[in-house]
């Protein structure tokens, strides 16, 4: 059956995600949150959740609805459930932001905002997990890249659970001593499970397959990849298991985090070695912009890891945690996200528009939907601004950081305009743009033939 491999709501997820990214960057440029405010200040938490939930998590969910079927070679369990999930997550994030605004004194106190946030976000991610989980069930046991995604999905469940505990705490609903201790001590676990487990580990699995697919590299499923999976899973298990016990008993997290850190470092080193193999052994010598920019994002991940090691060795982890998390979020995850978004939007648009007329009439290539040299300028501006912003955070210059954030916003806006142009087929030569029988793509959702 034609069209079953296209995800109907992925583009909607991407559009909402990009809006949240632009909003978060604009807020940083305006001086909202860290470094102008404290790391745990409500203003900072608004920006952080716009980035991690609104941008990165929605981007990842949208991408998974499209690419889990590719990883498993099975259709998605439901092409409709992603819509209520999106609505629930966005509504939950709205309630969470309203809650933080109350804590900041910008809104009158309404005690139910945080519990609404917990319920809505919890339900939204539960629908995501149900939809993807049922898809995995059709192809169980999953192949190696898909196993990374399974671990990532377990990590989002943990992350959201911790998040609900925190939301209940902020709303004044926590009367259990155990949960109250978790609320105070488990923030590092929430951050590591989210950024490390959900976002980074899932990105590892998806990138293994996408890099191989887009660069015509051999797919890797040898011992290096398997041990990347085992060690990363071990690191996350230590963080969640031992870390939760330590946090709940108000014990120190240092031992759990150190052990998890060692396993995590070994996992990252092995992943790095796999990525080098993928780039070195590629058949396609001239690679596209998305693969070049993914390499830049991977270099930022390597830089972040080296800086974390250096800060840990010098005892500066707590002092520089904001700068380190910023580098992971924007240099690595957002850099990779924007690079792959640039490719996926063009690919999905091609499938939607030209797939149905393939074999009937000449069609353009996916590459004809984009103008890479123009987009490349925005990507380089983006990475340069991120590097400068990171430097500002390490050197404690908040005003310069705001200028860098403004440039990040401009660059992201430039990339967003390129995505809209791709979706509108503006870059395709007129003679090939819309042959008879082709559907003009809609901006925010994908036409799926039945």
């Amino acid at each position: 059956m034609q069209g079953t491999t296209l995800s109907r709501w992925t583009l909607s997820y991407f559009a909402v995600a990009v809006v949240f990214l632009l909003a978060a960057q604009a807020l940083m440029a305006l001086g909202v949150g860290y470094p102008s405010a404290a790391l745990r200040a409500p203003q900072t938490l608004i920006v952080v959740h716009c980035v991690t939930v609104g941008w990165l998590s929605l981007l990842m969910c949208g991408a998974l609805f499209q690419f889990v079927p590719v990883l498993l070679a099975r259709p998605i369990y439901s092409n409709m459930l992603p819509l209520p999930a999106l609505i629930l997550i966005v509504a939950g994030l709205g309630a969470l932001i309203a809650g933080f605004l109350q804590l900041a004194g910008a809104l009158p106190w309404m005690p139910h905002c945080f519990i609404a946030a917990g319920i809505l976000l919890g339900s939204g991610f539960a629908v995501v997990l149900w939809t993807l989980g049922r898809t995995f069930a059709r192809a169980w046991p999953p192949n190696l890249p898909a196993q990374f995604v399974v671990v990532g999905l377990c990590a989002i469940a943990v992350t959201v659970t911790f998040g609900i505990v925190f939301a209940l705490g902020y709303g004044g609903y926590l009367h259990s001593a155990l949960l109250a201790k978790l609320r105070v001590h488990a923030l590092p676990l929430h951050v590591i499970a989210g950024l490390g487990g959900w976002l980074t580990f899932t990105a590892f699995g998806v990138s293994h397959r996408l890099l191989a697919m887009f660069m015509l590299s051999p797919e890797l499923d040898g011992p290096t990849t398997r041990w990347t999976l085992y060690l990363g899973t071990l690191a996350l298990a230590i963080v969640v298991g031992a870390g939760t016990v330590a946090a709940a008993t108000a014990g120190g997290l240092e031992i759990a985090l150190s052990l998890a850190g060692l396993a995590g470092l070994a996992c990252l080193a092995l992943y790095g070695s796999d990525v080098v193999q993928l780039y070195r052994r590629r058949v396609r010598r001239v690679i596209e912009l998305n693969s070049r920019m993914a390499a830049v994002a991977l270099a930022h991940l390597a830089a972040a890891v080296l800086l974390i090691i250096a800060c840990a060795a010098l005892g500066g982890i707590a002092r520089f945690s904001g700068a380190l998390v910023f580098l992971v979020c924007f240099g690595w995850l957002t850099g990779l996200g924007l690079a792959k978004l640039y490719k996926i939007v063009a690919f999905v648009t091609w499938l939607e528009c030209y797939g149905p007329v393939l074999g009937k009439t000449p069609t353009p290539r996916v590459q004809d939907l984009v103008v890479e040299p123009r987009a490349a300028r925005w990507f380089w501006l983006y990475f340069a601004a991120v590097d400068f912003a990171t430097l500002c955070l390490f050197t404690g210059t908040p005003l310069m950081f705001r200028a860098a954030a403004a440039f990040m916003t401009i660059a992201t806006l430039g990339i967003a305009v390129e995505l809209v142009r791709t979706r509108r087929l503006v870059n395709v030569k007129e003679a090939l743009r819309l042959p008879s029988g082709a559907h003009a793509p809609r901006l925010l959702l994908t036409f799926v033939a039945h």
């Binding site: 491999t5 397959r209 697919m213 887009f214 690919f347 797939g355 074999g359 069609t363």
Partner: protein, 108 residues
């Protein structure tokens, strides 16, 4: 009408299939080596066996449908039947010399 054999249709079908491109590589499926076998039976039904560059490729259904459309459009062909296979899996070594040259791959 003169006597015909299935082989008479192979070149026209191959030519028609060149209209179908792999969207990612932007090159036709014949020269990419994605078409493994073409056969025409006595009922003038074209049987095409083909693959995709990667298993689970989101373009699979469109490629199958496109190949079906192209093969069935050849004059004299009654209908077409397209089978997808991943045995053997596709490798870039299966490309034609022209395609290899296009992608800068050494011809071995």
């Amino acid at each position: 009408m003169s006597e015909w054999t299935g082989d008479d249709f192979l070149d026209p079908i191959r030519e028609a299939l060149r209209l179908v491109i792999d969207p990612e590589l932007g090159y036709n499926i014949v020269d990419l080596g994605l078409v493994y076998e073409i056969d025409v039976d006595d009922g003038r039904i074209a049987h095409v066996t083909m693959t995709t560059t990667t298993r689970g490729c989101p373009a699979t259904d469109y490629l199958r449908s496109g190949a079906h459309q192209a093969a069935a459009s050849v004059t004299g062909i009654a209908s077409a039947d397209v089978t997808m296979t991943y045995d053997p899996p596709w490798t870039p070594r299966m490309m034609s010399p022209q395609a290899k040259e296009h992608f800068g791959i050494a011809d071995d």
